[in-house]
């Protein structure tokens, strides 16, 4: 097997056992980038020299027995809205094309402390505003499963890079689905943690009350390991949650991965016994692609076979989540992005008369159309005369949506639905009609409004060869529950690598869910089709 196909956990283990070096892992990633980046474009900045230097340093610490963590020596990619000291951070915007932060985001600092190696910064929708990674100033990222399609967004670069095996893990950020939706489109696993679980210090803000940083990986265990590294209270983020036992948080860390290992050791037999899973009927209505529906319901069947009690129910207010989300997110964006004024950092227009024209020209040149659209809508809904009718109305709606989830979690431990209504659309199809694009976020945005943890997991492949994702949602602080169900589900699935990632001739492949096995032309073993 090629080195890049290893899970992060397996790689780190081999590095600890001296079967592999951190440098070899970095070189394998760089090699993969050299082969794929000209077409894929998952990265805005590749820090080849820096990564090799980090590998050297980390390897020494591993050899000295100073770094023994489960992800030590693992190369990782970062969404380009996470500040990295000395390494350009652009938010995929012309505004920050030349910006080199003077400090490192807390989540990234935790990765470094754990001995992980930063490969570079991944492409995204400009300032995380978009669902396709096409609004990037640096050009669109392609979907590694089918290069004519988008990878989703806004963390499209991170998800594409993980799927294409240009890195073993990545960090993304999720304001309205920006980790989960591209994870679904790229066939990887991503978590949006409970609001406040991961410090937002050093994450360039979009919608501060909604933004969360989260892990992206090829499997559930890797996701859990990465979440263990980045989660935790931070004095530098006032909305970060203390792990002191209050609010249902275990003292002394989360131990997500440890819990999974215990589960695994116990044999995973009927491991979901007693777990109550609700399927919101409202997530399976109009606009849902039949292939996606079939695949997600097959997964529900599998969960039931594993012992979970699965039933349908009515989740209210589903249609109100998108309008409420766009009012709140754009309002916060208009305020957050006011800092880009051409004074202290970022782009400044070349010619202007006076301060105000400098501001206006700078911002008009520095921001792309989608960012301008959202800033203007945000400024409008916050302006006097409209504040009550739009902004406060949206905040009241948010309160009601939260209540609907509270009701649901009184009856269920987890909710299950599709991550997105379709698989990845073709490049160039989405931006012409913004509202149509926003509607694609129907299943993901409510989770951010209610601050809930949620994860997307691959559950099948459509006839065009594009991955299908399902979404599990838990009540606040229910990450371990999410991971447990996802892990159990994953055990029933046969691994399927993204064909583009493979440099060796692919061997026999099987459908992703062994028991359900719907007809899937692409799943025929290679030998038979010859």
């Amino acid at each position: 097997m090629e080195l890049t196909a290893l899970t992060a956990a397996a790689l780190a283990e081999k590095i600890q056992k001296k079967e592999l070096t951190a440098k070899a892992a970095v070189q394998a990633c760089l090699q993969q980038m050299r082969r794929l980046e000209p077409e894929l474009n998952s990265f805005v900045t590749i820090d080849e020299k820096g990564a090799l230097a980090q590998a050297e340093e980390v390897q020494q610490k591993i050899d000295a027995g100073e770094l023994t963590g489960p992800l030590a020596g693992v190369p990782i990619a970062l969404k380009d809205n996470l500040c990295t000291e000395g390494l350009r951070t652009t938010c995929s915007s012309r505004m920050l094309e030349q910006f080199t932060p003077g400090y490192t985001a807390e989540a990234v600092r935790r990765l470094q402390k754990a001995g992980m190696i930063i490969l570079g910064k991944t492409n995204m929708d400009e300032f995380a505003m978009g669902s396709t990674t096409e609004t990037s100033y640096f050009g669109a990222t392609k979907n590694p499963w089918n290069l004519a399609h988008v990878p989703g967004g806004s963390s499209g670069g991170s998800c594409a890079a993980v799927a294409a095996e240009e890195c073993f893990l990545a960090l993304g950020s999720d304001t309205g689905g920006s980790i989960r939706q591209p994870s679904a489109f790229c066939g990887v696993t991503g978590i949006k943690p409970t609001y406040g679980t991961v410090s937002r210090y050093g994450l360039i803000a979009y919608g501060s009350s909604l933004d969360q940083i989260g892990p992206i990986a090829r499997d559930v265990m890797d996701c859990a390991l990465l979440l263990d590294v980045i989660a935790g209270w931070d004095a530098k983020d006032s909305t970060s949650i203390r792990q002191d036992g209050a609010g249902g948080m275990p003292p002394g860390g989360y131990g997500f991965a440890e819990a999974l290992r215990a589960e695994e050791a116990a044999g995973m037999v009927k491991c979901l016994q007693g777990l109550r899973i609700g399927i919101p009927r409202d997530y399976f209505g109009q606009g849902l692609d039949p292939e996606v529906k079939t695949s997600v319901l097959a997964a529900a069947q599998t969960l039931a076979c594993l012992g979970a009690e699965v039933e349908e129910f009515h989740l209210g207010l589903v249609d109100y989540a998108i309008p409420a989300y766009y009012v709140i997110a754009c309002a916060e964006a208009s305020s957050n992005l006011a800092r880009f004024d051409g004074v202290k950092y970022g782009h400044r227009a070349a010619a202007y008369e006076g301060l105000h024209q400098m501001y206006k020209r700078t911002r008009s040149e520095g921001f792309g159309p989608e960012v301008k659209r959202r800033i203007m809508l945000g400024a409008f809904v916050l302006s006097s005369g409209y504040y009550d009718a739009y902004y406060l109305k949206a905040l009241r709606t948010k309160a009601l949506i939260k209540q609907e989830f509270d009701k649901a979690f009184a009856r269920y431990d987890l909710l299950l639905g599709p991550t997105a209504p379709t698989t990845a659309p073709r490049l160039g199809e989405s931006l012409a009609d913004p509202i149509q694009m926003y509607l694609g976020d129907v299943y993901t945005v409510a989770v951010n409004l209610a601050g809930l943890p949620s994860m997307s997991l691959s559950c099948g492949i459509d006839p065009a060869g594009l991955p299908i994702g399902l979404q599990l949602i838990a009540d606040c602080f229910g990450e371990s529950r999410l991971l447990r169900a996802a892990y159990a589900l994953e055990q029933t699935r046969t691994e399927r690598r993204c064909p583009l990632a493979q440099t060796e001739q692919p061997g026999a492949e099987q459908t992703i869910f062994a028991p359900a096995g719907p007809s899937d032309a692409g799943s025929e073993p290679a030998e038979r089709s010859e």
């Binding site: 003077g102 400090y103 609001y195 949650i241 400044r348 008009s364 159309p369 203007m376 409008f380 009609d433």
Partner: protein, 123 residues
């Protein structure tokens, strides 16, 4: 013109919310954006359509519902007023689009007459 654009033009029904030139001018001032004629027209239409869509919220009775800004109760976070970070002056200035004498340089914000008056009244 792409297929999408064609379809969009065929479907185009004018938005119910008509955004006036004055409104878009005002939003431009608030958002500090200088829009071209074409951008301005597009913005009027896009905002109108978005507001039409957001009007969906009006179907929801939110009387007596408190606006919810954060999911968890937020409390002020206090710390000792002690400097913990070092002197970041050089690092901060490194990204300055224009700098002068160790400071960020901006266009003149106070004209000479007013500056002179301020100086006089300050004496």
């Amino acid at each position: 013109m792409s297929q999408q654009e064609k379809e969009r033009n065929v479907q185009a029904v004018p938005p119910k919310h008509v955004i006036s030139d004055d409104t878009i001018e005002y939003v431009g001032i608030l958002a500090k954006l200088d829009l071209s004629e074409q951008e301005r027209e597009q913005a009027k239409e896009d905002m109108g359509r978005m507001l039409d869509y957001i009007d969906k919220l009006n179907a929801l009775n939110t009387k007596d519902v408190e606006p919810m800004t954060h999911i968890f109760p937020l409390e002020n976070v206090f710390r000792e007023d002690r400097i913990t970070n070092g002197d970041g002056r050089q690092a901060a200035l490194k990204n300055a689009p224009v700098q002068k004498n160790g400071s960020f340089q901006v266009p003149k914000t106070v004209d000479d007459d007013r500056a002179a008056r301020v100086k006089v009244s300050g004496q």
